[in-house]
């Protein structure tokens, strides 16, 4: 039995995943986390630091890390990279003025060695706003088709209404599970 098999077996026993949620400030990371967990989203403050939630979904134990996106906090993102199974990149689809920033920050993350094995889910958030760009436009603006290093998927969603949050997380879980848990 190889070491990899042992590791896979251990992971399978725990059925535990670590998800890291990042994105520019005001993207809606905390709102997604709280909405997904069925909490009140009307009292959320800009994140000074980070939030961690552990929740059970489809028999998996998800440890979700939501780290603040303010410019002054981005240099601390690296502290959360270790052993991340899935990266959730949240985009404010209505914030056209910062799409370039958004693409740059995501590009830098994908070069990180410690995130090399992680699956990438891009949430094109705020689809409830009339001025929001579609997920296709986000895919183009962030040059997602150029990503060859990670499994990725872009999903349009709204943290306020909860639309498509489940679909996104389910895709992420399936992709990670296929990778780290043995098929048997």
């Amino acid at each position: 039995m190889g070491l990899l098999t042992i590791l896979k077996k251990m992971k399978q026993k725990e059925r535990e995943m670590r998800l890291l949620m990042l994105g520019l400030d005001n993207a809606g990371k905390t709102t997604i986390l709280k909405k997904f967990n069925g909490e009140d989203v009307s009292t959320i403050s800009p994140t000074l630091g980070f939030n961690i939630k552990t929740l059970e979904h489809r028999g998996f134990k998800l440890n979700i890390w939501d780290v603040g996106g303010q410019k002054s906090l981005r240099s601390y993102w690296r502290n959360y990279f270790e052993s991340t199974d899935g990266l959730v990149w949240v985009v404010d689809s209505a914030d056209r003025l910062r799409l370039d920033d958004c693409r740059r920050e995501l590009g830098a993350l994908l070069l990180e060695e410690r995130l090399a094995g992680a699956t990438l889910l891009v949430f094109a958030n705020k689809q409830d706003l009339p001025g929001a760009l579609s997920k296709e436009a986000i895919r183009e603006a962030l040059a997602l088709d150029d990503i060859k290093s990670h499994h990725w998927c872009v999903i349009g969603c709204s943290a306020v209404t909860g639309e498509n949050l489940l679909a996104g997380v389910d895709w992420l879980l399936d992709d990670i599970a296929a990778r780290i848990f043995t098929a048997d």
């Binding site: 400030d25 005001n26 403050s45 303010q70 003025l97 009339p130 001025g131 306020v160």
Partner: protein
């Protein structure tokens, strides 16, 4: 031994004595523990002190090396810069090794001092050994050609990056590139929409109604009043202006000398700002009650004076970047 135990158990006197002895032992141990704890605490304090004295003297010596650069010849400057760079790297390592004896604030200030050093090394290098300017020849040609191209065939409206930086698309609601005007929008125009105001100078803006979100960018000398915003307001690069709105969150960036009359139900934050001041929201117009209902904001919860500054993490000390507007200076009447 069993008999011994038995006997001891029988005679009450020796049990008491034993108990006393045990208690004394415990007391001694306790005192010892406390002594140790005290010692380790003072060790920690000493370590912090040692860290700062070493850190500061190292920093001073690097600064001295740098100041010796001006006027020296090229070779000497190269050598001095090399020395400064190595020393700075060593200092960074020293800081990393001693991270655990510092608190958050001390760590941040030390890190900032290091960054300053690195910046001044770069600056000195740039000054003493300027890099050869490098440019493509073809570039000027391309620039000459560009305007012709634009007039001949306008670029496709949907190309990603153009769109990101260009003017807001038609479905986006708001104003941009306006000077010296009074701009208004009605409730029907902005209800549940995302409103964007950019590049406005010396304008008065009145947004009657309840938008879903509000973005302000590159605002100079404006007075912007807006009805209840259901989610967040995002302000970037705004100066010498007066803003007033109710909202759920306020995020303010790169803003200077601006007054904000605010109703915020969760929190307001500032980042890279200075001279920003806050007072409670005081604008009103007919129909604002209905707009509050539409927005879903709680009128009884206003945290306007609880502002988090992301550049000021020293606990217990107020941030120098924002203030509360004194009551006598607050504006209460807006439009006659």
């Amino acid at each position: 031994i069993r008999i011994n135990d038995f006997l001891r158990g029988e005679s009450g006197g020796s049990t008491v004595q034993e108990r006393l002895q045990r208690r004394n032992q415990a007391r001694l141990e306790d005192a010892e523990r406390r002594k140790e704890a005290k010692q380790s605490r003072s060790v920690a304090e000493e370590r912090t002190e040692y860290f700062f004295s070493t850190f500061n003297s190292e920093r001073a010596s690097i600064e001295e090396v740098l100041s010796g650069c001006s006027g020296a010849d090229r070779a000497a400057v190269t050598q001095k810069l090399e020395e400064a760079t190595v020393k700075t790297a060593e200092l960074q390592k020293f800081l990393n090794d001693n991270m655990f004896v510092l608190n958050q604030y001390q760590l941040k200030t030390s890190q900032a001092a290091l960054q300053k050093l690195q910046a001044s090394i770069a600056e000195t290098r740039e000054e003493a050994l300027p890099k050869k300017k490098f440019a493509f020849r073809a570039r000027t040609k391309a620039a000459d050609k560009a305007p012709v191209q634009v007039t001949a065939t306008p670029p496709p409206a949907d190309s990603g990056s153009d769109r990101a930086d260009g003017p807001p698309a038609s479905e986006q609601c708001g104003f941009s590139n306006v000077n010296n005007e009074l701009l208004t929008k009605t409730a029907e125009e902005i209800q549940n929409r995302d409103v964007l105001l950019t590049h406005l100078t010396n304008c008065k803006v009145r947004l009657f109604g309840s938008p879903s979100t509000l973005h302000l960018k590159h605002i100079d000398g404006c007075e912007i009043l807006c009805g209840p915003v259901a989610t967040s307001v995002f302000v970037d690069r705004c100066r010498n202006s007066v803003l007033a709105f109710p909202c759920q969150q306020l995020r303010t960036h790169n803003t200077t000398d601006t007054r904000v009359y605010l109703h915020v139900t969760s929190r307001a934050i500032i980042e890279d700002c200075s001279g920003v001041s806050f007072a409670p929201f005081s604008w009103s117009y007919s129909g604002i009650e209905e707009d509050f209902t539409v927005s879903g904001l709680d009128r009884d919860r206003n945290n306007w004076s609880q502002v988090d500054d992301f550049n000021w993490l020293a606990a217990g000390l107020p941030s120098p970047n924002w203030t509360v507007i004194p009551e006598e200076d607050r504006k209460n009447t807006w439009d006659p």
